[in-house]
Amino acid sequence: MPNLEHPAYPAATLLHLESLVPCRESQVSMLLSIFGERQQLSFPSIFIYGHTSSGKTYVMQALLNTLQLPHVFVNCVEYFTSRLLLEEILIQLQSSSSETEQTYVPCDNFNDFVRLFKQAVVSQEFEDQTLYIVLDKAEQLREMEANVLPAFLRLQELTDRNVTVVLLSEIVWELFRPNTGCFEPFTLYFPDYSIGHLQKILSQNHPPEYSADFYAAYINILLGVFYMVCRDLKELQHLAALNFSKYCEPVVSGEANERDTRKLWKNIEPHLKKAMQTVYLREISSSQWERLQREDGEPGQLKGLSAHTHVELPYYSKFLLIAAYLASYNPVRTDKRFFLKHHGKIRKTNFMKKHEKTSNHLLGPKPFPLDRLLAILYSIVDNRVAPTANIFSQITSLVTLQLLTMVGHNDQLDGPRYKCTVSLDFIRAIAR
């Protein structure tokens, strides 16, 4: 395992840094060598990518904070327009080292930003060291104005200051590259944590009242259950915290000691499996789960979110929805055969209907005009239906409930077309 070594920084800080970022030593040393010493000019822009929760944000934060490098850390989702983003960078820059009163600086475009940025750097006396701007969730930059991303990549050149822009993203650089050529950043890939890595990281922060080995055994079991479905470090941490008290139960009650792993395993395993079906899918919330653990009740009594699938609809809404469903899954030419009353062979048509349906289900719903929907409605409802305003308002309310969607024209007079978005199971439940 390569120890972090860099002439510019004291060994103790580096050691501390190393303990903070397990399993990411190679990446950190790479970054350090790029950064160089404080006053050295660094690479203008660095692009770091990797899958969800592979430690990009965390490593950058740990690195910049422990080495006490001047930096600005911005999340691009949070500052959703370029104006907000730029202003936030300036504000953080102003407040980073001095106690001077924050003044609100309007900054509407990149030109202003470059100007203000230069001023800020001078006033904060950062000229002699590299300033780092970290843009988290950088994929959002693509949706802002076209000049933002290329400008950030060339910020060093534009401002003529010692600055490095670090972009963190979950997608590869090839998807970013704008059409009109730009500066190619240095790309760095953070690979996914392996199961060993996960084990190591998770067991690192064990609760103080239990030994590290005990916790490590617990993590081992946890990973054994969840690794198949979930490799998200955050999610695993969350699950570990939730279920640990249950794991400890036999130890607390004195039934088993900390070494008795087999017994503990037997105790926890069904519990974890249950957790996988409920908490992990957010069927029931974690606070409910905790309460459940305390009361030691059956989770059967607490129905999950998906248990409440039944939707109560008014009488005509049901028929409308069924009509819409038929209209979007049956081809137009079969309408006459299905819905005309004076048709002899009902048996046969029924059979054919089923046959066609299955093939049409693979194609997805088709749009249909309003007239057809109403015609089918009139033919499937037994008694006469008056075309009152209520029926029409029900159609629109179905659209707002997202059971139907409107397709195409916005012009109401022009015969609106709809699509039915609900599934066969839903219709079956309603039609009962």
Partner: protein
């Protein structure tokens, strides 16, 4: 009228109470949540409200009121139509939060107005700054004030954000908002409430796992609107407290609109209010429709005209005819005697209502547990059936009695007990005897049970005696014994059961007489369903069709009165054009149409004009035709078609 206000108040009480129930848990949870902010999950309540979207507004308003009073002053209500993008959402959110802060104490007024003037940066960080400043201020306020504020809200109250209609929000906006706020959950205690109309599955279909894992969702199911309706009917109609009643047909119309169309309790209440207004407006005798005491006073002050009105009521006429001849004359001539009688009749009516309700409930207890529900599951169905005609003459009633005669004992006993409770709680004075009678039944059942046990003991002793006889005899005697015992038991139990059912039947026959058999029922019952139907279920297409097809209906111009069929040329141009277009196919040739139009118009004006001149269409007529056609296009009956030149496409078809 005061009754309306009463109604509204009751509805509100209803709503708030049911919200309290769902939110008493919720409040506890928020306390819990504030302590366990360790994880980055945003506490979220998913409120499943059902599809009656029109009711939601009221629900949310009272919900936010309750929250404001009990938990936190910081509440923001967000609607999907205001938030097409994340930017608008943040703006709206900040606006609402800061405004509600100003509401709480107006000291900082100028400060915040100033801030909002120079278009604050709408971002989470400024929101957090604001929140910190607000909570800090409450810290350093005077102790008196602090006490008052902390008694209602604890330190650092959560900010509640309510999404009124979760379904209509765009996924992107919601996702972004959740991601952003989850990063600041520690500084900014946020609680989300999703209003869901369909099913909670929508959360999973709207949010990807990475986002929904940031939420800590708990589900709250609100009362279904059907149950809500039955409670309201229970409270409004099935009491003797409100003098105003709905006739059978009207109630049927209202319930049908509710069940078939919108599930909206709000609309039901509105319809009910409309009934009240219509009743008081159209029925001159409705001044007597008030509490009994007032009504008696008002009877005394009736004018001669009003007395005549009463004499004209059909139900009163029937009453008069049933009286002796001298009384008839007195009723029809002497106002004072009439008033006396009216007072008595009104009292009768009142007593009838009181009795009616409790007997109805009693009958409901019996019928609601029968298999297949011959008289309906809900009490409202039973109510309708009873209002409609004499319920004991219907087949359903017959079959339900049949079924009731087959009930087993424990059910019967519990039902009887329920009935006793109902009668005891009701205010009617005549029920003392009924209660006694029912109690007597109960004791009889009890006795019967005791008797069985005794007999069982005796039988077993008999068995032992007979053990010594030979096998064949034993079998025979045992069989006989068994049969006799069964028949005896059944007869005794059955007799009692028959008696009970017969008694219930007599109660029903006595008290559940349909209201329109009662004298003076017109005063309190509103029965013109057709008016209500006209008002409540609008039929735009039909109205349009009648307007264009039969202009006399609206214009009331004698010249337009036609016998249908033929097209009169005196009608407005658009009507002529419309009628002509009804005869055409999907594509209409404009030239043919114009020709037909000009023939109709000219038919009377120049009946004997020569054929040569009619070939050339008059410019004025041409212009009139074009105008009429464009009017039709505006109304959405036709549209220009690109398939054929000089043709328009017809958009509507008969029947819809």
């Amino acid at each position: 009228q005061q009754i309306q206000e009463d109604l509204n108040k009751q509805l509100f009480d209803n709503l708030v109470s049911f919200l309290r129930r769902s939110h008493s848990e919720f409040q506890e949870k928020t306390t819990e949540w504030t302590c366990q902010m360790k994880s980055r999950e945003i506490p979220t309540a998913a409120l499943v409200l059902g599809v009656n979207v029109t009711d939601h507004d009221l629900t949310f308003r009272s919900l936010s009121e309750v929250l404001q009073n009990n938990i936190t002053p910081y509440i923001a209500l967000l609607e999907a139509k205001d938030c097409p993008g994340i930017k608008n959402l943040m703006q709206k959110l900040m606006g609402q939060l800061m405004n509600c802060y100003i509401d709480v104490d107006s000291l900082e007024d100028e400060d915040y107005v100033q801030v909002s003037q120079n278009r604050i940066r709408c971002s989470m960080s400024s929101l957090i700054n604001w929140y910190e400043s607000v909570t800090k201020k409450t810290d350093c306020e005077t102790p008196r004030k602090k006490r008052t504020s902390s008694s209602r809200h604890w330190q650092s109250p959560p900010v509640v954000v309510i999404f009124k209609d979760m379904e209509s929000f765009t996924t992107k906006v919601l996702q972004d908002f959740i991601v952003i706020s989850s990063q600041h959950i520690r500084e900014f205690p946020l609680v989300l409430i999703f209003g869901i109309a369909t099913s909670p599955m929508i959360i999973h279909s709207l949010l990807p796992h990475s986002v929904s894992s940031l939420l800590c969702i708990e589900l709250f199911q609100s009362l279904s609107s059907k149950e809500h309706l039955s409670t309201i009917i229970d409270k409004l109609l099935l009491t003797a407290r409100f003098p105003f009643k709905l006739g059978e047909k009207v109630l049927q119309v209202l319930i049908n609109i509710f069940l078939y169309h919108d599930f909206s309790v709000q609309n039901f209440i509105k319809g009910f209010q409309l009934c009240i207004v219509e009743h008081f407006y159209s029925q001159p005798l409705s001044i007597l429709c008030c509490q009994l005491v007032d009504a008696k006073k008002r009877v005394n002050s009736l004018s001669h005209n009003q007395c005549e009105n009463i004499r004209r009521l059909p139900s009163f006429r029937r009453y008069v005819e049933s009286q002796a001849s001298d009384k008839q004359i007195a009723l029809l001539t002497a106002d004072s005697y009439l008033k006396e009688i009216i007072q008595k009749l009104l009292e009768d009516l009142h007593v009838y209502h009181e009795n009616y309700v409790s007997v109805l409930r009693c009958l409901h207890v019996f019928t609601s547990s029968l298999p297949k529900y011959p008289l309906g599951k809900q009490i409202r169905e039973l109510h309708c059936a009873c209002l409609e005609n004499q319920v004991w003459e219907t087949e359903e009633y017959e079959s339900s009695l049949q079924l009731a005669r087959m009930l087993n004992k424990s059910d019967l006993v519990t039902m009887l007990q329920q009935c006793v409770e109902i009668f005891v709680s009701s205010s009617g004075k005549e029920f003392d005897k009924t209660v006694e009678k029912l109690k007597e039944f109960l004791t009889q059942f009890q006795k019967l049970e005791d008797a069985f046990q005794e007999r069982d003991v005796s039988v077993s002793s008999q068995k032992e005696l007979q053990k010594k006889t030979d096998l064949y005899h034993l079998q025979k005697t045992l069989l006989e014994l068994k049969e006799s015992r069964r028949s005896k038991k059944l007869t005794k139990f059955e007799m009692l059961r028959f008696e009970v059912v017969g008694y219930i039947d007599s109660l029903v026959r006595n008290y559940l007489v349909p209201a329109d058999r009662k004298t003076l029922h017109e005063i309190v019952y509103f029965n013109t369903a057709s008016v209500l139907r006209e008002h409540l279920s609008a039929a735009p297409r039909i109205a349009l069709h009648t307007a264009l097809n039969n202009p006399y209906w609206y214009l009331k111009n004698q010249a337009l009165k036609s016998d249908g069929g033929s097209i009169s040329n005196k009608a407005p141009d658009i009507c002529i054009v419309y009628k002509l277009h009804l005869e055409c196919g999907r594509l209409i040739n404009l030239v043919d149409w114009l020709e037909a139009f000009s023939t109709v118009v000219m038919a009377v004006e120049r009946p004997n004009a020569d054929a040569a001149s009619s070939d050339q269409v008059d410019d004025v007529i041409h212009a009139r035709f074009i105008r009429a056609v464009s009017e039709l296009e505006l109304l959405g009956f036709i549209k220009p078609s690109k398939q054929k030149t000089d043709h328009v496409a017809r958009l509507t078809w008969g029947g819809c």
